[in-house]
Symmetry: C2
Subunit: 225 residues, 2 copies
DNA sequence: TTTATTAGTTGCATGATGCAACTAAGTGAC
DNA sequence: GTCACTTAGTTGCATCATGCAACTAATAAA
């Protein structure tokens, strides 16, 4: 009576590389679409996964080697058309990860594809990516989301360009700094500056403790605290 | 290999009655929790439902007699603890419906419970209701959502009190009218006014065509166009 | 020491938001 | 009919947020 359904979890892993937003894709190692690039994902294992978010974290850990990024539920996509095997359901998440973490993940299979250039992907993964981009851009305009694309420490000019890449338009310097100040999520690192080529060095900042996430790279002690 | 999962759909049907926000509850007619008030919901039927949204619409139609309200996906809740039968997954939606439509739905089983007073419900339905309230209130502060709690026609003072009930605080009259003007979703109904007790009558408005939804009551021709 | 370059701040113009006080249009009391 | 009362809707102004231009600050290279 209680019809059971094939349920999977898919993750839109977003990162910055070469100053543009990329989505992480992996070659599928099972049919359907074996060998084709697709979002990291897989079936939910009720005996193993506490809930769908834990399942999404497992996908990232096993398939992309990434520990605990910013992870948020995007939505659930369902229907007969999305999988050639029949009616299915995918609970989708998106993750934000600093470029350095993805580069250091030592999983050679990961392909970073320009996030805005996704035209077709297996299942309805292209639609899921587009939904993730819309969500991230919407939230970026009024929240602190983009900081999770930066490393542990960053300067305000660096963070500003991250916002500008996401929003696709230049931001006023003063307004940006005022907003960051109001959000009260950053703290300057005492005495730490980042020197550039030949100009005044910029103050380094980090997320205040309650907003921090420990990413795999940090866990391995590669980045300074 | 592809472990299948028990999937249900639950709907948080919100409406206004006696100037306060209510959530629609129904007595369950199956175990577990037979006879206990819970959200309208049920198993997804892949052979019948195009997708989860169609399933949610079916729940509303069959269990609450309501045709096509504002319906939006809220999120997916999952895990071992939420259902005594074991690991399960619920794709949850919320619907906004004018009070008159619910009252006319002719399903005597519907109980309208104060939305903010929900302390315990079967499964994790209380948590789902709280998530819906948070979402609706967040969106209400910057969007046109609350109009879907009004009937087909309404005056601006009426709409303003709907916003005030949702947000729980008074709104400045001028600011409110400016905002409605900017949103460009309403149009005055030419020559139509609503007279009150002993004062100037208020202009009647309706949603502009592209934003309208045909609700069951409208379909039956009870409300004027 | 001068120049170039980026970091960060200050002051002001412009626009959005909120309040008080106004006018408008109806009913009922007398 | 006129006046009082009530709610609808508008106007003008004060206050706050946002954005721009121009400033100072700090470094390295010439």
């Amino acid at each position: 009576m209680s019809s059971k359904i094939i349920c999977s979890v898919d993750v839109v892993l977003l990162t910055l590389s070469n100053s543009s937003l990329k989505v992480a894709l992996l070659e599928r190692d099972h049919d359907p679409f074996r060998g084709v690039l697709a979002l990291p994902g897989g079936f939910i294992h009720p005996d193993e996964d506490q809930d769908t978010e834990a399942a999404a974290a497992r996908m990232l850990r096993d398939k992309a080697g990434i520990q605990s990024p910013y992870l948020e539920q995007l939505g659930t996509f369902s229907g007969r058309g999305r999988d050639p095997r029949g009616w299915s359901l995918s609970v989708s998440y998106y993750a934000l990860v600093p470029g350095a973490v993805v580069q250091a993940s030592e999983r050679p299979g990961i392909v970073l594809h320009p996030a805005d250039d996704v035209d077709w992907l297996p299942f309805d993964h292209a639609q899921i990516v587009r939904a993730a981009l819309t969500r991230v851009r919407d939230k970026s305009s009024y929240s602190s989301l983009p900081v999770y694309l930066c490393g542990d420490t960053f300067t305000l000019p660096e963070l500003q360009t991250v916002y500008e890449i996401l929003l696709g338009e230049p931001i006023n310097k003063v307004s940006f700094r005022r907003k960051m100040d109001e959000l009260e999520i950053l703290e300057p690192i005492p005495g730490a500056q980042k020197a550039g080529k030949a100009h005044r060095p910029a103050q380094l900042y980090r997320l205040r403790k309650q907003f921090r996430r420990k990413l795999s790279l940090t866990d391995r002690g590669i980045n300074p605290g």
